[in-house]
Amino acid sequence: MEVESSGLVRFENVGMRYGRGPEVLRDVNFHLEAGSFHFLTGASGAGKSSLLKLLYLAHRPSRGIVTLFGQDLTAAGRAALPGLRRRIGVVFQDFRLIAHLSAFDNVALPLRILGLREEAVQAQVAELLAWVGLGDHLAARPATLSGGEQQRVAIARAVIGRPQLLLADEPTGNVDPDLAQRLMHLFLELNRLGTTIVIATHDEHLVAGTGRPVLRLAGGELRLLPLPHEAR
């Protein structure tokens, strides 16, 4: 996919490697417009997680230019990263909930890091956890929650700060089909409210069901698949 405008995210000839190993991403070019919704697919080891790491700023590209929210990351210092990360919500594949914190405190973290008053934190977190169906699990530690409940806590933490960009790595991988469908509705609703969304998934049914554009990674290279109606 060629770059045509600046967009919310822009990759130009991006390559990435871990240490001195081989490139896991090669000459990746794409851009995401604000408010877009994309799936990111590919076989295991194709580089989906690596691409997400670049997007949520856990890793720097080894070459090429990444522009996020109009800011060139190759020129951005380390001090600029927290401000950018606060505009990104991430649902990790393994959730990465903090084990000793309650569901409430896990979801409250982004707001507390932002320095919000505790009254505002209490109100927003309680409301969001109720919205994802965990209103009666506020004090529960992650270990006492089911996989699906942990998934919802992770999603709530990712969206509580109203990010401009939401990244989700296999967000329906640990839940039953019914819950997967409900989570997809949640993502679509967030997208409708203006959040740009990228979902990495293996779930072909999930991808087919929404009719959203798909970025496919294969052998470290990225291409945009045609939409079903375009393919016909």
């Binding site: 700023l57 890793h59 927290p82």
Partner: protein
């Protein structure tokens, strides 16, 4: 500097369990060394003040108490010497009071031959040759001798100054050891909580947010160790004071602590806590700076 709650659960760290003990010992040692140094400094100033410009003449007579004429002649000579502010003979009671700690009350019999002592005070800044004055006195009054108090005090002053330097060195070493231990404990904490710190970073936490949690925890540990350490040092100092009280000030003015020194001792755990907090902060910031 203080965070109200901890996202990292640092309370459970093994390193956190030994840090209060280490800081207690460090504060204990630092407080004792500081008390020693400040006490000796005060004593040194007192000795210097009381002995600076003072001489003692003694007139010995083999037959017993020296003849008043000899004492008078010595007083005239000493008083008339340029640079001498005052010369006064101590009466027998005053001399006996000086000898009593050494000889005991029972041995101070009336027939004991006791020399007459003359206290000589020099004018401030007087450039008087005590050796020349001693020679003149011995020539004019047989059996007279002039002692410069500074002569026997000099080695003691040098020893005291060396002990003060040693005390200062101990305080510095204790401070450095405290810094090293806090660095070790903080790095251990950073390693243990690496995963959670990574998550905090990814959801937008500044390094300062994470550092504040370590600072808050370290402050608590430092006070938890430092205050008992100071209390233990205070008990030891009180015990030493009780032991030293029996010696009296027969030889020299006593070694005591002034209000300023006591205030400085109270500050020791607070300074240790501040040192620990700053060390924790800079260790966290320095380590996190190397993360992506």
């Amino acid at each position: 500097m203080l965070a109200r709650r901890s996202d990292l659960q640092l309370e459970g760290d093994a390193a956190g369990r030994f840090l209060p003990w280490v800081i207690a010992v460090m504060v204990f040692l630092a407080a004792l060394a500081l008390a020693g140094g400040l006490g000796l400094g005060k004593a040194l100033a007192g000795w210097d003040q009381s002995l600076k410009g003072s001489l003692t003449a003694q007139i010995v007579d083999a037959g017993g108490t020296p003849a008043p004429e000899k004492v008078q002649a010595a007083l005239v000579l000493l008083s008339g010497t340029p640079g001498v502010e005052m010369a006064r003979a101590l009466d027998r009671h005053a001399v006996e009071a000086l000898l009593e700690p050494w000889l005991g009350q029972a041995n101070l019999t009336p027939d004991l031959p006791i020399p007459t002592l003359i206290e000589v005070r020099l004018e401030p800044g007087a450039s008087l040759s005590t050796a020349a004055l001693a020679r003149r006195l011995e020539a004019a009054v047989p059996g007279a001798r002039l002692d410069d108090d500074r002569t026997w005090l000099a080695p003691l002053i040098h020893l005291t100054e060396a002990l003060r330097a040693l005390a200062a060195g101990i305080v510095v070493l204790v401070g450095l050891a405290t810094i090293a231990m806090v660095i070790f404990a903080t790095r251990a904490g950073l390693a243990v909580h690496r995963e959670v710190i990574a998550v905090l970073h990814l959801i937008g936490a500044h390094d300062g947010y994470i550092a504040r949690q370590f600072q808050s925890h370290t402050l608590w540990l430092a006070l938890k160790g430092g205050l008992p350490g100071l209390a233990a040092a205070a008990l030891v100092l009180l015990a030493l004071r009780g032991l030293g009280g029996g010696m009296q000030a027969a030889l020299l003015p006593p070694v005591t602590l002034g209000t300023g020194a006591i205030a400085a001792l109270v500050l020791v755990p607070l300074v240790a806590a501040l040192l620990a907090v700053l060390t924790a902060r800079f260790t966290v910031l320095g380590t996190l700076r190397q993360m992506p």
